[in-house]
């Protein structure tokens, strides 16, 4: 069995091993990585400074892979077929794959040794540490990575300068006109752009402290941090020392099958030079590097794939500005759209006969990228001016050979095959099947369009009674001011409803009007849990969960819970949400139990409702020696604010008092983690069947800002989610994802924030405890009987036995079908 050794453990190496495993290669694979951690997503590196954890960025290690982390390979012995590591050990190989990547280019100027680079987690840690004592920073390099680094410095609160050698920013992606528009955007954010400028020296004061950067014209930019992001150099030193052919300007020479001059050694990713030692090219984008990884894996498993160069098209959003470039950056003819006021620049390049699209540049609005990139080299699908103005390209029919996903090289035809032959009926299905859309996501709108065009119509009808989705019904109820189910189904539905639409409509009515869930006709809409304000269990009894906000409870109240449980013979268990669940109550016992609980000051915990459940907390700064904020106080405030709010599904929350995250806030629908400066808000987390870590929505918020943001998040979710769709799934299905969510609830791009705020104020001001209201209302109490004609007779079918000193239901297999 052949032994495959991979040197380097970045995203390309990861993709290589993953592809190898997908092809069913069972051989031994050893990956040797210099960094102390497995490969992580470098494209999303900047998000690390915003709070995304290393774990979230890290790719899972493919099964059956041996990793040697923190291991540096010092030599290749091609005779013996071994690589030697810095610790003196040797790793034998049959096939060696070099995925050594590149290193940031640091120009040889005085003081350069005091500058930072921007490539690894460790680099970012160093920058973050240095930023603590800094007020100004300079990034040398105004390309893609340079702007990324500038964004990071800005995010760390530094006044940021960008120094770029070329006359304008991002010279590889945009032309002079686009560069000017881009500069306008970036300066509007408060960054200084020094284009057409070089670096004379890094000025270093006493004890090696950086004080500034001097330009060749002698002017000085004050700065305490300098980050070089002025290009990359392939790391080819191992190959060079091992006698493999390398290019004149660096890069390990490979053929179209990614094989080096030694047939047992492959090179992939940023260290590889494709196309010969003289004219070859090194690719620094993730898309081509992934393709190289797949080609090498295919060759090693006996295939004949080859790397035919790559589309260097780019679409990205840097510092909030969309920038895109596709195809050629010149042509016989061109059409330009320029809006200096709106900061939009779009230019298409066209062949001399004005029929073929050659390429394009976009700044400020990248919508033509997704729609037009697949047409590069093909006849123009419409008049160029129309294409630039409408931009969306929604009407365009893609040819089968048009590339839809450039990161993973997937054509429109392949997506159509996935839809038609493999039955993929939604975007996640296509992602899983073809990988399209799974890396940068910019082609997801195209995938949706292909789905629609293929005639896949996902029925949004809630059930046979309503042809509308939950979000649409919500709007109908809200806009028309509908207050009853009968009114809604008569005007907008058919039949008399079912167990799907009735609770959904009940929830909508409750979210919008916040009356008692058992009031009038609404009582008939509720699921049994909401109908009896308790949770039904397998034997038809119910469980009772009093609210214990933030998990904080006095001994006296704890004793009351204990006494109630003892007096009614209930099974008692501590829940995962820091509350106490009392099991085995018969319907006729519920009011008696709640009379006692309400008297002692307890309220409904809404464990039965599609509503806020609990806001879990750690003990926080009050007691904990590590805590930086009062997590318990905030958790209680949040729980009391959102208690009783009906939503498309249950809502869970937690507050952690420091970054140790003992409250597990990131597994919640909205989770809050304290920082030294305030609170970080995470949304869309989930435990359960499909765990998901919540995404960072905003950081270092004050308590007021935090509450306002949560108000809007929750209300926007209630307004737009599907029935029984938790926030995790909702966020994943949201067009535009987290960025769009931020636009709506932070930047108010839809102009609805005032309305969302007002709805939450209404909820907070009209909340009343459902159980307190119920026990004082004889009409509502009427339903809590075992038998309508024998209210005092307990249901004789409910039988318990004892286990570990508590009751448990007797299973009755003789009556159950399954």
């Amino acid at each position: 069995m052949s032994r495959i050794v991979v040197v380097g453990y970045g995203p390309t190496a990861h993709r290589f091993v993953e592809t190898l495993r997908e092809r069913g290669s069972g051989g031994r694979v050893t990956v040797i990585g210099e960094e102390p951690r497995p490969a992580y997503d470098r494209v999303a590196l900047t998000s690390y400074l915003g709070g995304t954890s290393v774990e979230d960025l890290t790719y899972p290690v493919p099964e059956g892979t041996v990793t040697r982390l923190g291991g540096r390979v010092t030599a290749i012995d091609r005779e013996a077929r071994t690589v030697t590591l810095a610790d003196g050990s040797a790793e034998p190989y049959d096939v060696l794959v070099l995925a050594t990547g590149s290193s940031p280019f640091v120009p040889p100027v005085p003081g350069a040794e005091h500058a930072h680079v921007y490539r690894t987690i460790d680099d970012l840690d160093a920058i973050r540490l240095a930023a603590k004592d800094a007020t100004e920073g300079v990034v040398v390099g105004g390309g893609l990575l340079g702007l990324e680094a500038a964004d990071a410095l800005r995010g760390l609160g530094l006044r940021t300068h960008i120094v770029e050698m070329s006359p304008w920013l991002m010279p590889r992606q945009v032309d002079e006109g686009g560069g000017a528009v881009l500069k306008g955007h970036i300066e509007a954010l408060g960054l200084s752009v020094h284009a057409g400028a070089g670096v004379q020296e890094i000025v270093v004061g006493e004890q090696g402290v950086v004080t500034g950067l001097r330009k060749p014209d002698g002017t000085l930019i004050d700065a305490q941090i300098v980050v070089f992001s002025a290009g990359i150099r392939p790391r080819d030193e191992l190959a060079r020392d091992g006698g493999l052919e390398v290019g004149r300007r660096g890069g390990i020479v490979v053929d179209a099958g990614m094989r080096t001059s030694d047939p047992s050694i492959y090179a992939i990713g940023e260290c590889a030079l494709v196309g010969g030692p003289e004219k070859g090219m090194v690719y620094g984008l993730v898309g081509p590097c992934f393709t190289m990884a797949e080609v090498a894996a295919d060759r090693i498993t006996g295939g004949g794939a080859s790397f035919e160069g790559a589309d260097m098209s780019t679409k990205l959003k840097l510092l909030g500005v969309e920038v895109a470039q596709f195809g050629a950056m010149d042509g016989a003819l061109d059409v330009t759209y320029m809006d200096p006021v709106g900061g939009v620049y779009k230019r298409l390049f066209i062949s001399d006969d004005a029929r073929t699209l050659l390429g394009g540049i976009c700044v400020g609005d990248a919508s033509p990228y997704s729609s037009l990139r697949p047409f590069v080299g093909k006849p123009l699908p419409a008049a160029p001016s129309d294409l630039l103005f409408t931009g969306s390209g929604a009407e365009l029919d893609l040819p089968d050979d048009a590339q839809v996903c450039s990161c993973n090289n997937v054509s429109a035809g392949a997506v159509r095959v996935a839809i038609v032959d493999k039955g993929c009926a939604d975007v996640p299905g296509i992602k899983a099947c073809t990988r399209a859309g799974s890396t940068c996501g910019s082609c997801v709108p195209m995938l949706k369009q292909l789905l629609e065009r293929s005639g896949v119509e996902l029925s949004k009808a809630l059930c046979e009674h309503f042809a509308y989705s939950r979000a649409e019904l919500y709007d109908i109820v809200r806009v028309r001011g509908i207050t009853t189910f009968s009114e809604l189904i008569t005007a907008h539905g058919q039949g008399r409803g079912c167990d799907i639409c009735k609770p959904a409509v009940a929830s909508i009515l409750a979210s919008l009007h916040n009356g008692h869930v058992l009031e009038g006709e609404r009582a008939a809409l509720q699921d049994t849990n909401d109908h009896f304000l308790a949770n039904i269990q397998k034997n038809g009894t119910y469980s009772v969960v009093p609210r214990i906000p933030g998990g904080e409870i006095t001994p006296d109240k704890l004793i009351v819970i204990g006494e109630v449980a003892r007096d009614f013979g209930l099974y008692t268990k501590i829940t995962g949400g820091q509350r106490i669940d009392l099991f085995g109550a018969r319907v006729e016992q519920l009011p008696q139990i709640w009379r006692r609980l309400v008297e002692a000051g307890f309220e409904s915990g809404h464990a039965y409702g599609k509503a806020l459940r609990t806001v879990k907390s750690c003990v926080g700064s009050t007691w904990c020696r590590y805590g930086v904020q009062d997590s318990v106080g905030l958790a209680i405030a949040l729980e009391l604010r959102y208690r009783g709010l009906r939503a498309p599904h249950k809502l869970k929350s937690a507050v952690s008092g420091c970054a140790r995250e003992c409250a597990e806030a990131r597994s919640k629908d909205f989770g809050i983690i304290a920082t030294e400066n305030g609170w970080n808000l995470y949304v869309g987390g989930n435990g359960g069947f499909k765990p998901r870590h919540a995404d960072l929505l905003a950081n270092d918020l004050s308590t007021d800002e935090l509450i306002r943001t949560i108000d809007r998040f929750v209300m926007f979710y209630i307004r737009t989610a599907d029935r029984l769709q938790r926030t995790a799934a909702w966020l994943e299905s949201l067009d535009g994802g987290l960025g769009y969510l931020r636009q709506v609830i932070i930047d108010d791009s839809l102009g609805i924030c005032a309305e969302l705020d007002a709805q939450m104020r209404h909820h907070v001001s009209t909340y009343e405890d459902e159980w307190r209201a119920t026990i004082s209302d004889p009409e509502k109490l009427g339903r809590f009987v075992s038998f309508v004609n024998a209210p005092g007779v307990p249901d004789p079918s409910i039988v318990f036995e004892t286990e570990r000193d508590q009751i448990k239901p007797v299973n009755r297999p003789e009556v159950a079908l399954q």
Partner: protein, 124 residues
């Protein structure tokens, strides 16, 4: 056929059920939106729990139904058949209104549901 009075017609909420004890049997009694009454066994054959009276009442293709509150299987209130699992049925009982009182027959029957007499007001 012996009839057992279980409650006043007006005590029944439209589209909600109650449970009655009829000769030792648990019977789920429903009043639908149009005022009609139905009675089926209260035992959910899937879970073995006596809970059908606590399910959500609705319609499927026009037929009045109740969904088990435990695992949501839907039963016809007319035939007692489970519409999600052919072959599974629950008993159907005769039901009528006499002098404003809802009466259930302890004998299982496949009769049509009884509409209340005109003298009984439609609203609760």
């Amino acid at each position: 056929m012996s009839w057992v009075s279980v409650c006043r017609y007006q005590a029944l909420l439209p589209e909600r059920g109650v449970c009655a004890l009829v000769d030792g049997r648990q019977v789920a009694v429903f009043r639908t939106y149009d005022g009609a009454l139905h009675a089926i066994g209260n035992l959910d054959p899937f879970s073995g729990a006596h809970v059908l009276s606590r399910g959500i009442v609705g319609t499927r293709a026009g037929e009045p139904t109740v969904a088990s509150p435990l695992h949501k299987q839907v039963f016809s209130l007319v035939s007692g058949e489970c519409l999600d699992e052919p072959g599974v049925t629950v008993p159907v009982y005769s039901i009528r209104v006499e002098d404003g009182l809802v009466q259930v027959s302890s004998v299982r029957a496949g009769t049509e549901p009884v509409r209340e007499p005109a003298l009984v007001p439609m609203s609760v």
